[in-house]
């Protein structure tokens, strides 16, 4: 009833977890059955180990939060050698979010992850707002976005998802550019660039001054962008941005997303993904829907 497809991937349901909000999945194993997820997108992984930005890295804002973690991760070699073996036997789609500061770094990481039998897809992160070099720089210019995607496409032969930033004038232009460069799917939105100031201390809350806004506050922006992109490209769209309930997920599905990712809501309720899976099933039952694909893109 809930099964859906993203290119060659079969998802038992459309509910995935968003990169950077779910660790490597293990952090949530006490709370939920990870095998009930449609997919897990693991923490953004780079060519070398990264320390990320200095503390403080987060601030709570109305119906959302800012973060400036800055891609802290163990690096692709440790991921492949160590982390991968701890999670590879999960019965879900394990997708690695591949981040970088240069095309060479994206390609190195993608190539190494491409060797991992139990990782059927990567999510190319050309949209991180919290790193000085690369990251969002690739995702805000259609020519550069197409260039990085086509270079990775040459060496990566499984499902290539490209994660888009909302911090652009025209997201459709970027989506079309990466589709043209060989992406199999796009996921959107990454965080919105934001800022908050502690007026008592007269300084920004984040060490980096600006950071990425996530949570329910961004959801209407995300739904709009998913709807725009879904109508403009042929490849499947994965929707994310502020999803915290089955109703939120359904908005994205109706707007045209074939699957969704849950991010910040995992911090508030570590079981929220299971509630969304159950809620989607309940919705289908209540509305006599035998295949969730029947409501995808109806708007």
């Amino acid at each position: 009833m809930l099964q859906t497809k993203i290119h060659n991937l079969t998802l038992k349901n459309p509910v995935m977890t968003a990169s950077g909000t779910f660790g490597y999945g293990e952090e949530f194993a006490d709370f939920i059955d990870l095998n009930r997820l449609g997919g897990i997108v693991v923490k953004g992984t780079t060519g070398e180990r990264r320390q990320g930005n200095p503390y403080p890295r987060m601030a709570e804002t109305p119906s959302g939060m800012l973060n400036a973690v800055g891609l802290q991760n163990v690096g692709v070699e440790t991921f492949c050698k160590d982390v991968y073996h701890r999670i590879k036997d999960l019965d879900t789609n394990i997708i690695v979010n591949v981040s970088g500061s240069s095309i060479e770094e994206y390609c190195k990481t993608a190539a190494m992850v491409g060797e991992l039998e139990r990782v059927p897809a990567i999510e190319l992160n050309i949209s991180c707002p919290n790193v000085k070099k690369g990251g969002m720089g690739f995702g805000t210019d259609p020519t550069m976005a197409a260039q990085v995607v086509s270079e990775v496409r040459k060496i990566y032969h499984k499902t290539l998802i490209v994660k888009l930033t909302p911090n652009v004038t025209n997201v459709v232009e970027i989506a079309k550019a990466v589709e043209g460069a060989g992406a199999d799917s796009v996921s959107l939105i990454n965080t919105l660039l934001g800022m908050a100031i502690d007026v008592e201390k007269r300084r920004p809350y984040l060490s980096t001054i600006t950071g990425g806004l996530s949570g329910p506050a961004v959801k209407p922006v995300a739904v709009r962008m998913v709807w725009q992109v879904a109508h403009a490209v042929q490849i499947p769209v994965i929707g994310l941005g502020g999803i915290a309930s089955a109703a939120d997920a359904l908005e994205f599905l109706m707007a045209g997303a074939k699957a969704i990712q849950v991010g910040t809501a995992n911090f508030i309720d570590p079981t929220v993904t299971m509630k969304i899976v159950d809620g989607l099933e309940d919705y289908c039952n209540r509305h006599g829907i035998s295949d969730i694909n029947d409501i995808i893109g109806i708007i």
Binding site: G23, P54, S63, I268, P270
Partner: protein, 256 residues
Amino acid sequence: MKKYITNFTIKRKTVYNSHYFSLVLQHPDVLPEIEAGQFVEVEVPGNKQVMLRRPISIHDVDSDANTMTLLIQVVGKGTRTLSQLQEGETLNLVYPLGHGFSQEGSNVLLVGGGAGIAPLLHLSKCLKAKGVRATILLGGRTEELIPVRDEFAPYGTVGFATEDGSLGEKGLVTQHSLFSADYNHIYTCGPTPMMKAVARYAMEKGIECEVSLENMMACGVGACLCCVVDSDQGHKCVCKEGPVFNAKQLTNWIIN
């Protein structure tokens, strides 16, 4: 250690003053083992301005009554909202989180400041049960900022330090007559400058020292990587690899 997400009922609420209150939380089932120094992530109900859970250290555990006590300082909109909860209401917790104190040492000093007193009660009980001799030194700017006092008496020698002299010796905890190198292990929790001063002293004297940090955090389980401290092995999550660290791991943090 397995983590849980569970509803608790507020069995008793004690308001000490405008700064501090405590909640005794009861669960119908037997509680899992909780290490002294571990914490909970509390859902803040009924305030649309507060989305994220709040990390609160575990003050006391009564495994016979299936209760756990949280001692909470009102510092912002999250804790202010929690302070308005009433007995009988429900609180949702993710717990027990992080790593607690090692409970090593045979003659130990506990140094707590302000809200940092909270985890030291459970710690002093655990140490007592192990037969460890403990000296407990509690500090605050004024008397009312040391809300819990008598509760510590059964578990060791207790001393107080206040900056205005309203309780115990006048001055900082590090100036107190009980603060010395006579111990083989120091445990501390409180304001960062206090913990750094305690840790520096311990390092100088070659005494093992454990500090319990309180960084802003979102997930509480090591997923979001927001709450990091600069350790000697790079950024460590306070929520998962802490909140208790051996001071030796944190030389950058102590110096800066």
